[in-house]
């Protein structure tokens, strides 16, 4: 059942229906829909004005997932087959917080990635790199009571993607998160520190604000590193949090 902590009672006045909404992002801290350097945005980004949506009960609620849903293998992508996958084993761990620095327990984190050679186990991935029979590239966890999550996986490879001449995606792991509300839903990608491809990647650079963009880069972390076993990377994820007081309209 719901693993979410209870919110302050004043956040929702049932009598009037007035609700404290979720904080809207400051300009430049999230990507725009149209980002011409990323060619696929040109025919897919909305062209008409977006309609500003008040946050109603429909937006401040969202699906609730239980701790029991994922199993241990879902958190260790190196233990999902008979053998171990090839590549550099790594640990990716961190905390899911809201933008008021409060941990989010019970948040579902889904990840997917390519293998060490830069190939996804997907029928549409035609990159001429080998599949690894011991690697699917998918994981799921639910954050613990303090908002922490941890995956064991292998470091994904870079791969070409035809967006422009000689285009290569920096190594990345896709993450999908459900926070407390449907408006705090986040799908993102985690990158690795020092990757020389980052300054050239239109997807990474789709977020104008440098501080916000750098949230997408994990930090090498001695504390997460396990001796004789695997390097650790710390990746904290910040979801939109709730305004403190109801908006009266």
């Amino acid at each position: 059942m719901p693993a979410h902590p209870s919110e302050p009672a004043q956040a929702h006045d049932i009598e009037t229906g007035d609700i404290a909404g979720y904080r809207r992002p400051a300009k430049g801290t999230q990507p725009e829909y149209l980002h011409p350097a990323y060619a696929s945005t040109r025919k897919r980004a909305p062209t008409r004005p977006l309609v500003l949506l008040p946050h109603t009960l429909s937006e401040i609620t969202g699906p609730v997932f239980g701790h029991d849903d994922p199993c241990a293998e879902d958190a260790d992508l190196t233990r999902q087959h008979e053998g171990e996958p090839l590549g550099e084993r790594i640990i990716v761990a961190g905390r899911v917080l809201d933008d008021s620095n409060r941990p989010l327990p019970g948040a579902l984190v889904e990840i997917w990635q390519c293998n060490a050679a830069g190939r996804y186990r997907h029928q549409n991935d035609t990159h001429a790199a080998p599949l690894d029979p011991n690697f699917t590239g998918t994981g799921r966890v639910v954050t613990d009571k303090d908002g922490y999550y941890r995956f064991v996986t292998i470091k994904p490879g870079a791969y070409p993607w035809r967006n422009h001449h000689n285009a290569w995606r920096p190594a990345h792991i896709h993450l999908s998160l459900f926070g407390r509300a449907f408006v705090s839903r986040l799908v993102t990608q985690m990158y690795f520190p020092g990757d020389p491809l980052l300054p050239h990647d239109p997807i990474f650079n789709g977020t104008a604000d440098e501080k916000a963009r750098n949230r997408l880069v994990a930090a090498f972390d001695w504390d997460a590193t396990v001796p004789e076993h695997a390097l650790g990377y710390r990746f904290d994820i910040v979801l939109r949090g709730r305004e403190a007081t109801p908006l009266h309209r």
């Binding site: 229906g17 949506l53 889904e110």
Partner: protein, 188 residues
């Protein structure tokens, strides 16, 4: 709490073309298995050239038939429906088509003590969207659409893009990404 305590939220990034690997385990094309009054909603996702988007994924969020969300922040004294989470997730096929089954939700509270007409909230993800789109599906032949506080915010000539239409025994609702019939998307 001062502004100094606020953290910048993590930016969104595209799901890319290979999301199935990570998101398939929660594919939920039937939100209400076994419900007597189940309805099918189908449609297509089309890009700026009118071409089908074969690598989109839709997520649906809705209240139950009583207008109650299965969520701790819904304090209404209304019954939950056992087994009904209100969440759906469905990908498009090679023709850009999707179909999901659900029940018609009840009305839910709106801003300022108002009432919202029955609706589904839909998030749309795909390669080429660095941040997902948010839209809604309303139901045809629903008198309360005329006073729905969110529909009132939408220019009158675009409201029809948010209302499903009858197509045989099913409802049809399309996601048109660009152009004259472009679906209304929300700044959320």
């Amino acid at each position: 709490m001062s502004d100094m305590d606020e953290l910048i939220a993590t930016p969104s990034q595209t799901v890319g073309p290979f999301f199935r690997i990570g998101m398939e385990s929660l594919y939920t094309p039937d939100l209400a298995p076994g419900a007597a009054d189940r309805i099918a909603i189908h449609g297509r996702v089309l890009d700026g050239d009118g071409q089908p988007v074969s690598d989109a994924i839709l997520e649906i969020w809705q209240a139950n038939a009583h207008g109650k969300y299965a969520h701790p922040d819904d304090a209404q004294a209304l019954p939950l429906t056992p087994g009904f989470t209100g969440f759906g997730r469905v990908p498009t096929d090679t023709e850009g088509a999707f179909r999901f089954f659900t029940i018609r939700p009840g009305s839910v509270p709106g801003p300022g003590g108002g009432v919202q007409a029955p609706h589904l909230v839909v998030a749309v993800f795909m390669r080429g969207l660095l941040i997902h789109l948010l839209t809604r599906v309303y139901f045809p032949d629903e008198p309360s659409n005329a006073t729905d506080p969110v529909l009132q915010l939408v220019p009158a000539d675009r409201r029809t893009t948010l209302v499903a239409r009858r197509n045989g025994n099913e409802l049809e609702w399309n996601v048109i990404l660009q152009g004259d019939n472009e679906t209304v998307f929300f700044d959320y």
